[in-house]
């Protein structure tokens, strides 16, 4: 139906357009050398918060390096790095209220770091031990924290995007001024769930920020085989949603864009799409080897745009950070990660009963029966089930 408020323009010669002329500019503030672009204005960022952000970035990098190494050593089954995308993730999270909900894809450990997830908490999840909140049920890196308002990661891609729209709708009704940010890759944005989520958010005016990490690849598939358009941003036009494209390696631009997006979302109930342009510097996951599908040269271009070095240069220009601080920080983090890893690895697995709990709020009679049978079986063959043989003894 033709909108009633605006008289549609009419033409009498057929004109096709693919929208290419509406190309979306990229918002940047910070140069790689730590100085601002001409005409750029740094956001209000207190020293404390700036350092909180920076430390989270460095911690994330250290964690990623150490855990990949641990995976290579066979200590861990699987890992995924955020390397290269720390500013996109942490810059955006830092612009939110800590009570806002985060619904992430899987490469956003930086957001958790920023919110204060402890090394112990990371390790317990990755080693699926008895202290893992997720009770050892999901693969490494599927973190979650109700305390930190970070929804537990789910592997099926894009499912969290319409969920974020629904979550934010609930926040709007609750009227407490909170919003939801939802992270996803440019690959996941091809899923039908993405389309549903943006459309519903725009129609129902929901306080949600859609943050697309466009890192150039979905596993081996380059963005050019994912979509023909200039990135994901132009899709917002299709839903009449505010959109901004940001240099994802620019911590200041990410922070400022998200801060303003949050205001639109929370104060005006205008959902916003942010496309953070970056690059997945590491392999897709510890199971992947990118040498088969992209060049070292291409990687180098992006290594030269390292978001952490960029922020460090800015901090140093402001005299907020020294090389000594850096050395100290790195060392502390490395040590902390290694020591905590060792402790976490030694913790026992989750209890046998956790096999059947949380399927429903209460364990059903049928599940109780299945657990009993299992325990009896394990008692018969304790050697075959070394993780749980001891516990099964306790059984009926």
């Amino acid at each position: 139906m033709v909108s009633k408020t605006r008289k549609p323009k009419v033409v009498h010669k057929p004109a096709f357009t693919d929208g290419a002329e509406f190309s979306i500019a990229t918002f940047q503030l910070l140069k790689q050398d730590g100085t601002l672009y001409k005409g750029a204005k740094a956001p209000d960022l207190e020293k404390d918060q700036a350092l909180r952000i920076y430390r989270a970035m460095v911690y994330t990098r250290v964690l990623d390096e150490r855990m990949l190494a641990a995976q290579r050593q066979g200590r861990l089954s699987f890992y995924m790095q955020c390397t290269g995308e720390e500013a996109a993730v942490i810059g955006s999270t830092a612009a939110l209220d800590d009570a806002d909900m985060i619904m992430a894809q899987y490469r956003e450990q930086g957001a958790l770091v920023y919110r204060g997830f402890t090394t112990d908490e990371f390790m317990n999840q990755m080693f699926g031990n008895e202290e893992d909140y997720g009770k050892g049920r999901q693969m490494p890196i599927h973190y979650g924290s109700s305390e930190l308002n970070y929804m537990t990661i789910s592997s099926p891609l894009a499912t969290q995007i319409p969920q974020a729209t629904g979550y934010a709708y609930g926040q709007k009704l609750a009227g407490e001024g909170h919003c939801t940010i939802v992270y996803f890759g440019e690959g996941a944005a091809s899923e039908g769930d993405f389309h549903a989520a943006l459309n519903m958010a725009a129609v129902h005016r929901v306080p949600v920020i859609f943050l697309c990490r466009n890192n150039g690849y979905a596993i081996s598939t380059p963005a050019a085989e994912q979509f023909a358009a200039d990135g994901v941003a132009p899709r917002a036009y299709g839903y009449k949603m505010d959109v901004i494209r940001v240099d994802g390696n620019d911590i200041l631009a990410m922070f400022e864009a998200t801060r303003q997006a949050r205001r639109l979302a929370v104060e005006d109930n205008r959902p916003v799409l942010i496309e953070a342009m970056s690059y997945r510097l590491a392999a897709h996951s510890s199971s992947d080897d990118p040498s088969g599908y992209r060049s070292k040269d291409e990687e180098q271009i992006w290594r030269d745009k390292d978001p952490i070095l960029r922020m460090k240069a800015w901090l140093q220009a402001a005299d907020w950070w020294s090389d000594d601080d850096e050395k100290q920080l790195q060392e502390n983090y490395r040590r902390e990660v290694l020591e905590t890893m060792k402790r976490a690895q030694k913790r026992p697995p989750p209890p046998l009963d956790s096999l059947v709990s949380d399927v429903y709020q209460e364990v059903t009679p049928e599940l109780a029966r299945q657990l009993d049978n299992l325990k009896a079986h394990i008692r018969k063959y304790p050697d075959a089930y070394p993780k749980t043989a001891e516990q099964a003894k306790g059984g009926a």
């Binding site: 979650g144 979550y167 009704l173 519903m200």
Partner: protein, 325 residues
């Protein structure tokens, strides 16, 4: 008590739930001002406002994705899928998300506040895509509850229980009974238990088990059977998942015979699960093979719907065959 048809009973249940708790929301395609294509949500938008009862865009995966998020946030989401035949675009959100939300997070998060309503079943000349009975697709999914009412009284009590249940519930409504089935329904709130089958008629020779619209068919078949002196025990399963093994097994211990009937195709239908479980539990008590009277292993037809459906005559014949085995 008031005389209501099934649609009125459902509408009444939704009305009560929304009046009682302002976090209860009803939404789906055309459920707003129009009240849904079957009018199950009539007047709810008028009464509770557009924020709590509203039309969604036409996208089932979005409706359930949205509902999952809303429920995770703590709201009570009652989502309508216009026909059960159109629930499949939301299959991933239901089977991979709703069902596993609590488990995968170690109970940090859950979508217990979610209820999905959908009209199901044949007998309305709807052909392939307005007749399906998809309960078995969901019954293979731990974490979900699946509920089907047989009449207005059951519909109200089971729907209220589903909305209040702290787990995600699929509530399939037998649409051919929407207006055809009427009965006395208490005006106040009440809840019927989930996970419990109901013995609606006692008998000694054979146990007949079904749910939803198929209960009516059993009743007609029983009339024929009892004329021939066969005493039937009739059970309404009511909750398909998790199902009430005890009540069914106890009955079969007594009667020694079991017949299960549903409209969905035979192969992979939920009758298979029941038969497999009961042959194990009641092996030494069974006097004849457990019989299944179901739809054919084809998509749902139209012109020959009558031939396709497991009607009372087919059930009656199967009763006779079982007793005469």
């Amino acid at each position: 008590m008031a005389k209501m048809n099934m649609l009125q009973a459902i509408n009444d249940a939704l009305d009560i739930a929304m009046a009682e708790n302002e976090r209860v929301l009803c939404f789906g395609e055309d459920v707003g001002i129009f009240g849904g294509v079957f009018r199950a949500t009539s007047n709810l938008q008028q009464k509770y406002g557009k924020a709590r009862c509203f039309n969604t865009p036409l996208v089932e995966q979005g409706i359930i994705g949205f509902a999952n998020g809303l429920a995770a946030q703590g709201s009570v989401a009652v989502a309508e899928i216009q026909f059960a035949d159109y629930i499949f675009p939301a299959f991933d959100q239901i089977v991979n998300e709703s069902a596993k939300f609590r488990y995968r997070s170690g109970n940090l998060f859950n979508v217990g506040g979610l209820t999905i309503r959908a009209p199901y079943g044949g007998g309305i000349a709807g052909g392939l895509y307005h007749s399906q009975s998809p309960e078995a697709y969901f019954a293979h999914t731990p974490g979900l509850k699946v509920v089907v009412p047989r009449n207005p009284h059951q519909a109200k009590g089971l729907l209220l229980a589903s909305i209040h249940d702290p787990n995600p519930v699929l509530f399939f409504e037998p649409k051919r009974l929407y207006r055809a089935s009427t009965g006395e329904v208490p005006e106040e709130e009440y809840r019927l238990p989930l996970g419990q089958a109901e013995v609606v008629k006692e008998g000694t020779d054979i146990t007949l088990l079904a749910w939803g619209a198929q209960m009516e068919v059993l009743t007609q078949a029983v009339e024929l059977a009892e004329k021939e002196g066969i005493s039937c025990e009739v059970i309404d399963l009511r909750t398909i998942l998790p199902w009430d093994v005890e009540t069914v097994a106890d009955s079969v211990f007594k009667t020694g015979r079991l017949l299960i009937s549903h409209e969905a195709p035979l192969t992979g239908g939920f009758a298979g699960e029941i038969a497999a479980t009961i042959q194990e539990r009641c092996f030494l008590y069974l006097e004849s093979p457990i019989a299944r009277v179901t739809g054919l292993d084809t998509p749902f037809p139209l012109a020959l719907e009558k031939e396709y459906l497991p009607d009372h005559l087919k059930v009656f014949e199967a009763i006779r065959a079982s007793v005469e085995f």
